[in-house]
Amino acid sequence: MGVDILPLVTSIVTFYGIYLILALSFNIEYGFAGQPNFGKVFFYSIGAYVAGNFTANMLMRASGVTGVDFCSDLAAEVRFKVAMSKPWLIIALFLLSLLIAAAVGGVFGYLTSYPALRLSGDFLAIVLLAFGEIGRVFARNYTPLVCGVYGLSGVPNPLVWIGDPRMARLAYSAIVLAIAFGMYLLTERLVNSPYGRLLKSIRDDELVSSVMGKVTPRVKGSALIIGSSMAAVAGVLYAFYVQTVVADDFIPIVTFVVVTMVMLGGVANNKGTLLGAMVMTLMDRLTRASFLRILGISVGFDISYVRYIVTGLLIILILMVKPEGLISEKPLKTPAIEEAEKLS
């Protein structure tokens, strides 16, 4: 029996890339800077909204078709046709979406520093969770953004012109993974720089840092800008992968999954984040009805429930047994320390 596992592999690779970016961004904000951004899904959704709205609008304009409802199935078809015929256009739109989303995400991250400077810990987490829900309630009711409750479909894969949709998806997943890995290297570089040390010092004792003359509010704000920008990029990658943008995809549980990745893998350790994101991605992808069908298993209830229960259990277990995560925080890598290690 020939079982086609290519779609499964593609989806695991793509979602690993997307979740890795989200987890890295949460690790910068929470792990290194101590700001629990429980509104993560909001910044993720911003990327998806920007990508969806901007790309769809531009494609409609390029098609020259007028008088068609932006949200209709016909419009989605028109957009696919344009993307098929103009490879350079859809690639340019993809790259522009990434840039615009990163900028918009950064702006919203800057706005987030307003509550972050007034609150901390659990209260900040609650307010940012509320921010995320405000964004979702707004997006599902304000139809010009992404067509409200029904969502915007017809955001073509940027490589759709390859022809074979399976190959296009596979190639796209490679791009996502490459971007995610680039983000990983950048994050590693960032947190091992003097800036990373500054973040940690503020997390551990803000008073000491400010006595040393650091403008701590500005630094906290900058961490949120970086994190939100990254999350928005992940949102763009998601929108172009699933090719639809629905506001109700961005529910708080997405944030909780990202939080679990970081807490499971290891807070303030990017290698831990690599691991945590892998564990959670596999769990996310392998508890789908489509995967169970490959194994020939069927259950009498919605399999998503199992995924949520396991996520909940993982959160509880990790906090009770190993609150620092599987791979705990390591000393910073600075040139001086590396030299010292070589000598000894």
Binding site: I126, A130, I134, R140
Partner: protein, 310 residues
């Protein structure tokens, strides 16, 4: 004016139920410093127990509510004994406790979902006959109002007496204001903690029971209501008993009346309703973290004078 009768009566009912739910959230936060997201599940469990007890167990309204109280209280106690107490002993931060409560909530909610899905109970309503007792304009005052509103007021009165007159109530207040001091004063903090969780879970369960009479329930019922519960509790100052009672009714009225006003006079889509609760949470936390708890007539007068004087 008569047009407002229906939303007013709904507001009265919702306010009562939110108060019942939020009281427990405030109590567990004040005594154990856990912003408990799993509180939503106590509501849902109470609602399901009520529906099953009445529809299949042939228990009456009182019997159903009693079993809802009992089950939800037991689940609440179990979550604390198995998770929160141990985490607190390990010295978990409030943020870790919050995250753990989200985990507990996920486990409870979706375990219930599996059971409900297998038993074909993804949407049920408690079959209790609700009769209109009076008509106001086009709105009905029903027996449900006559049950839920006085129950809430009675609970508030009893809790008031417990906090003021009994040893255990005073011990709770002591733990809420300073845990270490309470402990060195010889208070049995373990016992007080247990009693707090039992009352918190039980009241949420009773509120859930009433909710299942008011409208059909599903495993997400509590999670959807949680937003309003948090809004009520936070508006009340998050640690204050009387603040929460006020917060519960204010939130109930702003949900029902607020959206009626907004949609009728400003043309706002009814689907924006959750925004009211979300904005309450954000605004209170950012600009007045003590909520309504420290709003006194004198304080209002002072700030008014200041504003005029300026």
């Amino acid at each position: 004016m008569l047009q407002l009768a229906a939303p007013l009566l709904t507001a009265l009912l919702l306010g009562s139920l939110y108060t019942l739910m939020a009281l427990g959230l405030t109590m567990t936060y004040a005594v154990t410093s856990i912003p408990n997201f799993a509180h939503a599940e106590f509501v849902t469990i109470g609602a399901y127990i009520m529906a099953v007890a009445v529809n299949f167990g042939k228990l009456g309204l009182v019997g159903g509510l009693a079993s809802a109280f009992l089950f939800a209280a037991l689940v609440a106690l179990a979550t604390d004994e198995l998770v929160f107490k141990k985490l607190a002993a390990l010295g978990a931060t409030p943020l870790h406790l919050l995250t753990a409560s989200i985990g507990v909530g996920l486990v409870l909610r979706y375990t219930l979902s599996i059971v409900a899905d297998l038993k074909g109970l993804l949407s049920v309503k408690t079959r209790v006959v609700v009769n209109p007792v009076a008509t106001i304009g086009q709105a009905y005052l029903t027996t449900l109002h006559l049950w839920a509103v006085p129950t809430t007021l009675a609970v508030v009165a009893v809790l008031h007496l417990v906090f003021m007159k009994t040893k255990i109530g005073k011990a709770m207040r002591a733990m809420a204001s300073n845990l270490d001091l309470a402990r060195v004063s010889g208070i049995n903090t373990t016992l007080v903690r247990r009693v707090t969780w039992v009352i918190a879970g039980g009241l949420a369960g009773v509120a859930g029971g009433f909710w299942s009479v008011y409208s059909p329930i599903n495993p997400e019922t509590g999670w959807v209501a949680l937003l309003w519960i948090f809004a009520a509790s936070i508006l009340g100052g998050f640690r204050s008993f009387y603040g929460t009672v006020l917060g519960g009714y204010v939130v109930g009225f702003s949900e029902s009346l607020g959206i009626t006003f907004l949609s009728r006079y400003l043309g706002v889509n009814v689907a924006y309703k959750p925004m009211i609760a979300l904005l309450i949470i954000v605004v209170v936390f950012l600009w007045k973290p003590t909520g309504l708890a420290e709003v006194t007539p004198r304080g209002l007068l002072e700030s008014l004078k200041k504003a005029v004087g300026r």
